[in-house]
Amino acid sequence: MAPALGKRKRRDQITDLESSREAPADEDSTNLQALFRQHFESTFEPLPGSSAHPPLVHKLDTKATDEGIESDWDGFSEHGEEHAETVHHATSAPSKADVSKDEFRTFMSAKPPSSVTKIASTAKRKWPESPENDESSTDAANLKKDLALQRLLKESHLLDPQSSLSHSGKNRHKALDLRLQDMGSKTSVFAQQKMPLAQRRGITTKATEREEHRRREAQENGIILEKAAKSKKKSDAIRQRGIGAPSVGKFQRGMLKLSKKDVADIEGPKKSARRKR
């Protein structure tokens, strides 16, 4: 029915013309009113009265459906229908959603599929902050502010008078070192590692002197101080010797010299003279 197609086209044009002719002039005004009404209702509350929607948006669609109804093309001729045999190779192709991609990867990869099925993580999910639990949120905020204040107090001496409240450059490292020491770090990162022995001795003697002075002052004034930390005993662990060095005594001028202690250590504890016969 090839010619019908052409006809239909012409008819469509006619219907279009007709519809446009039928549309009176006042339709435009009602459309405008509806538009205003819609806008008003969207910003304020719905107006009383008829809530008939304007055919504004749907006009094109209705035209299309009209066209569908009006088309008189009724498919291919029907005379062969009783002879047609339909064959369904019902390949119920399982949808990809049927099995997860993980499953495919575990089963079809080169590795043997692990028989242990992965259990979904039961770790507690973090819920986004909801406005309901503002009590806890204020608590958290307070904690944060508290921490900031503590830090400011501790590290304020590092702050530049010119710059803002945040540390920068060397001061940032110093602040970090202070925090580390606060958390239990034994020594500062900036403590000098290597120096002449005399200098180090001087530092330690000065430190002990200062500590002694402080304690004496406190005692005289009747102030109770914390207990003095016991000075560390020198460990009796065996000295680490160099590789290839003798494990006992010391090697000097081509001979191994053993001290009396070394000899005693080698000999072991002396047995008592009394012996059972």
Binding site: H89, S92, F107, A110, K111, P112
Partner: protein, 403 residues
């Protein structure tokens, strides 16, 4: 290499030759085979796949000796150390390339399953690439598993012995059986990188209940619709029993090996055309049951039949019961026998235990000096099962002893 020269174990016929050779290598005892196809007029003595297996053994061991009689009906094997794919022993860049001849009629699992048994006791990781015109990755009419089943049903069992890391079986090129039942130019690489001193003692007593079924439908050189038809039919049988059934489809072109002599262009044609199905059922406790079927080399079987028969085969394998299926039982029992000097227990179906290969395995193990098995009824569970207690040898990996 036995430190004290012991008399070899005398065995007859070619029956389960590969597994016996593995036992010989693991226990370190020499073995003497007699009467290897003595009465066959056309194919007397060792078959091509057996010779190939001997070559493979030679490649992964150091110091092993083979003496084959003139007729090929007798074989003396003195095992060496299992070195694996260590550099300097035939491995190039850590990979041993093993070429199978075109006359090979057995599937690749004939080589893979015994090699996997050797691998945990090797000194270095094993990495073997099987190539050549004789590599059949599909199931074969002689009853070999497909490479997929080895990967999905045999290799996961090693995890129970504490052998889990760095195990891979890459099927690089698929191939079915060619016409005449000969090989088909596939390519498979086995990487077994987890070596242990001793496999753990296992107590596999609870078969559990089948919870999911997975599978691979493969076709080489034929339309992918064959896969869909196999899957459809297999699912039709299995879906009413287990809803969690899914069979993956793998379509590949047939390998096209170039003939050596250029004059004979007739031989330049596709080989290994066909299709097949591998199914694996997994129970709630991790027991695996597998089934395998491929189109026969002569063709003429519709994919629907393959799919249905494979599904029935899987159901039969499940119905045998036990925690280990018949296909995997030799592997598990051998690993148990090679474990520490401790009693391991394994629940098997009565039909599985009384089958010929398992009884033969028990006799072979005894011949190689392992202790006998204890068999008793399970305290609980199905009445079709028995519990087999196996005492390990406690020798384990000789290469790992000093380390």
């Amino acid at each position: 290499m036995a430190s004290t020269p012991q008399a070899p174990v005398y065995l007859t016929t070619q029956k389960s030759l590969a597994h016996r050779l593995i036992l010989s290598t693991l226990t370190g005892r020499a073995v003497h085979f007699k009467q290897i196809r003595p009465s066959s007029l056309t194919h007397t003595g060792l078959a091509p796949h057996e010779i190939s297996f001997l070559r493979l053994l030679e490649a992964v061991t150091n110091g092993s000796q083979f003496v084959i009689s003139v007729t090929g009906t007798e074989l003396l094997y003195k095992p060496g150390l299992i070195t694996g794919s260590a550099p300097g022993s035939g491995a190039s860049a850590g990979v041993i390339k093993h070429e199978l001849p075109a006359e090979c009629t057995r599937g690749i699992s004939y080589f893979l399953v015994p090699l996997c048994l050797l691998a945990p006791f090797s000194k270095a990781p094993i990495n073997v690439l099987f190539t050549g015109p004789g590599v059949i990755t599909s199931a074969t009419p002689s009853g070999d598993l497909s490479a997929d089943s080895v990967r999905t049903a045999i290799l996961p069992l090693y995890a129970q012995f504490g052998i889990t890391d760095n195990i891979e079986l890459r099927i690089l090129r698929r191939s079915n059986v060619s016409t005449g039942g000969k090989g088909g130019a596939g390519e498979v690489q086995l990487v077994f990188g987890h070596q242990v001193r001793l496999p753990k003692t296992v107590h596999i007593m609870n078969p559990g209940r089948v919870k999911k079924i997975r599978g691979v439908a493969y076709c080489t050189g034929v339309s992918a619709s064959n896969n869909a038809r196999m899957i459809e039919e297999a699912r039709g049988v299995l879906n009413p029993m287990t809803a969690d059934t899914y069979i993956f489809s793998d379509v590949s072109s047939a390998p096209y090996p170039k003939s050596r002599d250029k004059s004979n262009t007739n031989q330049n044609r596709k080989t290994g055309v066909g299709f097949g199905l591998s199914l694996v059922a997994e129970s709630s406790t991790g027991s695996l049951y597998s089934a395998d079927l491929a189109s026969p080399p002569a063709g003429g079987v519709p994919p629907e039949d393959i799919g249905r028969q494979c599904a029935y085969q899987l159901l039969e394998s499940i119905s045998f019961g036990g925690a280990v299926s018949l296909a995997a039982a030799p592997t598990v029992l051998t690993l148990m026998a090679m474990g520490s000097e401790d009693v391991g227990r394994l629940q098997l179906g009565k039909d599985v235990l009384s089958s010929e290969p398992i009884i033969g395995l028990a006799r072979d193990l005894k011949a190689f000096g392992a202790s006998g098995w204890g068999v008793r009824e399970p305290i609980t569970g199905l009445d079709g099962d028995v519990v087999v207690s196996v005492v390990g040898r406690g020798v384990g990996n000789v290469g790992r002893k000093i380390a």
